[in-house]
Symmetry: C2
Subunit: 521 residues, 2 copies
């Protein structure tokens, strides 16, 4: 594909031309057979739960953490040099920031940007009122009902890329959907990025586990999109984690700088498990998250002013009986809403985490915790929702069954975020006139004119009467999901890929692999 | 108990005396072993998703439905007489209302009232920022993992009353928790009301299936609370349904008037399955719901000005493939938020429905749909959340396992609705000073001082590592819940009941039963 195609494929621009309300109706989600959308433009406001006064107190606490305690930037002299030149106070590797300094640096970061897909119709806009659903990221294990839990392989990885591509309700191919542990660590990124490009035509994420791997990932994107295009447009994301509390290590800062240098978007994410990597109190953990994220986002702007960057967060609670992390609990859910307010005050696109649980099965616990967590992510105004589908087992396992359940819930959220349209047709006064008291609306003209697109139609939920459900085998949702992912894989068709691009990618991978010994850790 | 005890037991008044923030912290939910609270005073705002302009268009549509189409009040000449004297236009049984008329009548209804429990410490305040969780209502079937689905009995009914009483996270004993089909229909209400009084000391609901049964229910409450006290205070609720679209039948209006006449609170609820009892479009169904509820609530004020009344709603979508109702879908979830805004504009306490699903098992579907629905209920500002625990099978079955799962989620919502406290301790700046970059917060002074009450601790969720969970038998949430409800019933202890009151109730029931032949329909 060419730069010009991608540039004109901005779905937001297309949507604006057609008019918001009409376009939303055209794109209304019709359920399991729906065509999907490249991303969601939300039509309901964010859920702002905290007062201006309390938001300011959290910001002031973040400013004091940054000014009085500081953040260590370990083993990355270039990062330290950036900070020195920006006027931070440096003491060894500890960097302290005057209040206001990071906000000033962050003013060059875009509030919204396009991440281009190799299929221009699937490019996404990240920021503003837009919502992008991306699969879960980073688990060493995979699970399904047939084989239980096992280490992930490159075949599993490809399967999940295919399932994401096949779902109309995800918008992004994600990154390390699972760890392909059958591929050496230092070659894994090549096979993962290739799988995203080959088996999906959606936007995707690259490696961050070493600066060279980040650069390889970006180089592969250049083979697809062209060098000049990549220098001017975002085509790949890299998800970098803070080493909380208050440490950025060189693995992450060099990867972060590699993405920024190439004008690609780093996603900056502190992972704070309250009571371990942060305080056990929510307000303090949020202030810490704000401080750490601001520092990381600002570093991208020192590397390349104007580079796209995403303000991320990942709050979690823990079981105070066992010390285990907990997910889908009320504290991080309410915390996400506040982080959303803080990110909007910085005018940065927001990443939140979606569908989390500590359950080891795709069961009631999994979907109770996951739904709580996912709804918090959409309510808080997150623009890029990583971990939208698949996680079980407290970040450790990707589940095939949960993946398709979660993707189906992502579909429901398309309808939810459309809100309620108010116009003469939707208000239906004529239908009341036609039907009158005591009758029913089944066959009335208004129902006939509107029923096809009226309600979300889940591809997982069983809405049949008990007797019919029982006669069909009394299947639970997990068993249904098991059948569904197998059918999706069986019916999957790879999107077309230019043969020359494919050859160039394969050649690149072959050369890179040949130049390296296997490394398994 | 005496009226004076109940009057001084208002937990809101107690809370105000102790100061909001401190009281909230004292009452912070500590998870599975927590003491619970009589009800929740929410500390996060409602989620208002619709603009003023669109809310007004919905109100105008409701006004036009009421003025141009009207509502039939069937077979209740007293109701028609009330409307005639209030100035409505009557045409046979069809009643039409000038815009503004019902709002004027509703101005006498209280925005908030106490429903007294026989244990004064468990009285609830309904309205304002208060949230009361009440069990599910009305299913003919019950289910558990051991015995599957079967008709409910009075033993099941008592079991659910006991489980609600034993849960720290429910606030209300509910009403027809399940239909005890082994008791004749015309005697059932006596045994149900007695079970609520005998096995629970929480507030409860009475019968509405006939005017005489409503009066019997209220009479039994008088035996507990005293005739004068009941005339001055709300001690029992009655849940009355509109016969949508746009019909109120005599069974419901005579029951509604019986509650109002006795100064007890009717809960007024249209059940609108879009495309069947209302239009297939959400805005129209909401306008209809508003019209029907306003008419029912206003009728209570004509029967007795100042009587407490609750503005209810129950929106549902349907499967357009099978025609079956669907629950926990996005349309009613977003619709609830709008109904909440409309109820607040009327200054009436709001009832919404909680934890709904069409799933036939306590599985992933059940908790995905239930959580979506329950969160909508708390976000929309509902004050009385009926169906907070137990439903499966599209309103048809109470599940023992789902009951305890849902009650546990109600616990999580206590923490959620507390929001995030912002003060020096919660902001934890001293903890950051103590720990600094790169260390951990496990044993620091701030963690030690705060960890005990820091995080919600679920009594259902399994947060253990995979290996430990597997070694313990690889139990799913439903199996865990199965063990839990059995343990709760085994450990249940009945709250004390004055022997004189108990005798008076038994005597009343005996006389009523003796005077009636068995009726099974």
């Amino acid at each position: 594909m060419h730069a010009s195609e991608a540039a004109t494929s901005n779905p937001t621009a297309q949507r604006r031309e057609r008019g918001g309300r009409q376009a939303r109706r055209e794109q209304r989600s019709h359920g399991q057979d729906g065509p999907g959308r490249p991303y969601i433009v939300r039509n309901i406001p964010t859920y702002d739960v905290m007062s201006e006064e309390n938001l300011r107190r959290i910001e002031q606490t973040a400013d004091r953490i940054l000014a009085e305690i500081g953040i260590e930037f370990r083993d990355d002299p270039i990062a330290l040099d950036h900070w020195r030149r920006a006027g931070a106070r440096i003491d060894g590797e500890l960097v302290r920031f005057e209040p206001g300094m990071l906000r000033e640096i962050l003013s060059t970061a875009p509030s919204e940007f396009v991440q281009h897909a190799r299929n221009p119709a699937k490019s996404v806009v990240i920021g503003g009122r837009n919502v992008v659903f991306s699969p879960a990221y980073g688990s060493p294990f995979v699970m399904d009902l047939d084989r239980g839990r096992r280490y992930g392989t490159i075949e599993d990885f490809r399967n999940f890329v295919k399932l994401a591509q096949a779902s109309p309700w995800l918008h992004h191919s994600g990154g390390t959907i699972c760890e392909p542990v059958d591929v050496p660590v230092n070659k894994r990124h090549l096979d993962m990025v290739y799988a995203h490009i080959r088996y999906s035509d959606r936007p995707f994420m690259g490696s961050v586990t070493a600066e060279s791997r980040a650069e390889d990932s970006i180089e592969m994107a250049r083979l697809v999109f062209g060098r000049d295009f990549v220098d001017r447009n975002c085509v790949i994301l890299g998800n970098v984690n803070v080493n909380s509390p208050l440490v950025w290590d060189a693995t992450m800062t060099t990867a972060l700088r590699a993405y920024a240098r190439a004008n690609q978007a780093a996603v900056v994410v502190p992972f704070i498990l309250g009571g371990a990597m942060g305080p056990v109190t929510n307000a303090g953990a949020i202030a810490q998250s704000l401080a750490e994220t601001m520092a990381g986002c600002a570093l991208t702007q020192l590397e390349r002013p104007g580079a796209p960057v995403i303000f991320g967060n990942f709050l979690s609670s823990m079981s105070l009986r066992s010390g285990s992390p907990t997910f889908g609990t009320p504290e991080p859910a309410i915390g996400s809403m506040i982080v959303g307010q803080l990110a909007r005050r910085l005018n940065l696109p927001l990443r939140c985490s979606g569908n989390f649980t500590t359950s080891k099965l795709p069961d009631a616990q999994a979907m109770n915790e996951g739904t709580m967590s996912m709804l918090a992510a959409v309510h808080c105004g997150a623009n890029f929702i990583l971990h939208s589908a698949g996680f079980l087992d407290g970040l450790l396992s990707m589940s095939y069954e949960k993946f398709v359940m979660d993707a189906d819930f992502c579909g429901a959220l398309h309808t939810y975020l459309d809100g309620v349209t108010v116009d003469d047709n939707q208000l239906a006064l004529d239908a009341f006139r036609e039907v009158g008291p005591g009758s029913h609306f089944f066959g009335c003209a208004h129902t006939m004119a509107n029923y096809e697109h009226a309600f979300w139609d889940s591809g997982i939920a069983d809405n049949e009467p008990f007797e019919k459900w029982e006669a069909a085998g009394s299947e639970d949702a997990a068993t249904h999901a098991n059948r569904k992912w197998k059918a999706m894989l069986a019916e999957y068709e790879a999107p077309p890929l230019d043969e020359g691009v494919d050859e160039a990618l394969k050649d690149f991978i072959e050369r890179k692999k040949a130049a390296a010994d296997d490394a398994w850790y």
